[in-house]
Amino acid sequence: MSDASLNSTETQTYEAGFGDYFALLKPRVMTLVVFTALVGMIAAPVSVHPIVGFAAILFIAVGGGASGALNMWWDADIDAVMKRTSKRPIPSGRVTADEAFAFGMTLAAFSVVMLALATNFLAAGLLAFTIFFYIVIYTMWLKRWTPQNIVIGGAAGAFPPMIGWAAATGSISVESILMFALIFMWTPPHFWALALFTKMDYDNAQVPMLTVTHGRRATRVHILVYTVLLAVLAVGLGFTSVGGPFYLAMAVFLNLRFLKGAVDIWRRDEDMAEADRFLAERKFFKASLIYLFAHFGAIAVEAMLASFGWGGW
């Protein structure tokens, strides 16, 4: 836009600032990506040059951010009607959908090529697949089609530790698959708890969340079943080479607490939930965030203890 056009403020379009583009990258989701990818890299039984490690995590984060921008480009119509997402850059008019698409595609290609140059082709291939999976399989296809959207789509968010591990070792192993599985199994109860207390949002946007298609009772049962399976997996990870006594103690404690939260949700009906404004569901959602960070934090602690000859089995 030329400076002369400032005179006609009525026809002026909003020119996005740096922060508006940064918001397209979903910075909060990015923290999870950065943290889990970093743990995947630290837990790997190979030492990585600090600059190479830093670059790898950065490019994984940029790839994750690109996915966020492309997701916002495709889902702008849904975001506009959901209270939780209505202030995002596209529905609020700060960035156009075309700009978000160009920004996302450029960063996606950039992050994959740079990760390949900085580390190896396996890590870059996994990052490319993650972006493809999140945008095409989850956002474009499953999200608006099946109530299992969160279950399958959760795989996209589960790849970062596997990419971090692959960036360090150049391979895939049982440990990296189990770290993937931990996030994969954690995602459904995390999002279903959110769907229980933001109920009107998904109804309004006509997204086939489990709460909408199968009812809220079924969602409560699903949360409990997935939490039981998650507990088995999380504790099982403690017996692999990335686990150890510290991780195992943390996992047992966290999973007992998480299971109690899931049982509380399962035992409640809608009247009870309405009466205390979904207190148990909100607590479970918050606890789920701590749960994941604490598990990966414990894996990182085990790796650091191992470097002093203390951690592991």
């Binding site: 400032l6 600032g17 740096f18 600059i51 190479v52 140059l117």
Partner: protein
């Protein structure tokens, strides 16, 4: 409105340009660091064409 007057849009444009400039500078520094890290690795070997040429 005078053309020299500071408009809110100019602030946003400046923030974008400054942000992009800093990101590009950081990227240059990162690529330099990566290059140093790669060539100082013990496993690093020059491509054969470079050696004979």
């Amino acid at each position: 409105m005078s053309l020299s007057r500071q408009h809110e849009m100019h602030k946003r444009r400046f923030s974008r340009n400054l942000g992009l400039g800093l990101v590009l500078a950081a990227f240059v520094a990162l690529v330099f660091g990566l290059t140093v890290a790669k060539v100082s690795n013990e496993d690093f070997v020059l491509p054969t064409g470079e050696e004979t040429g």
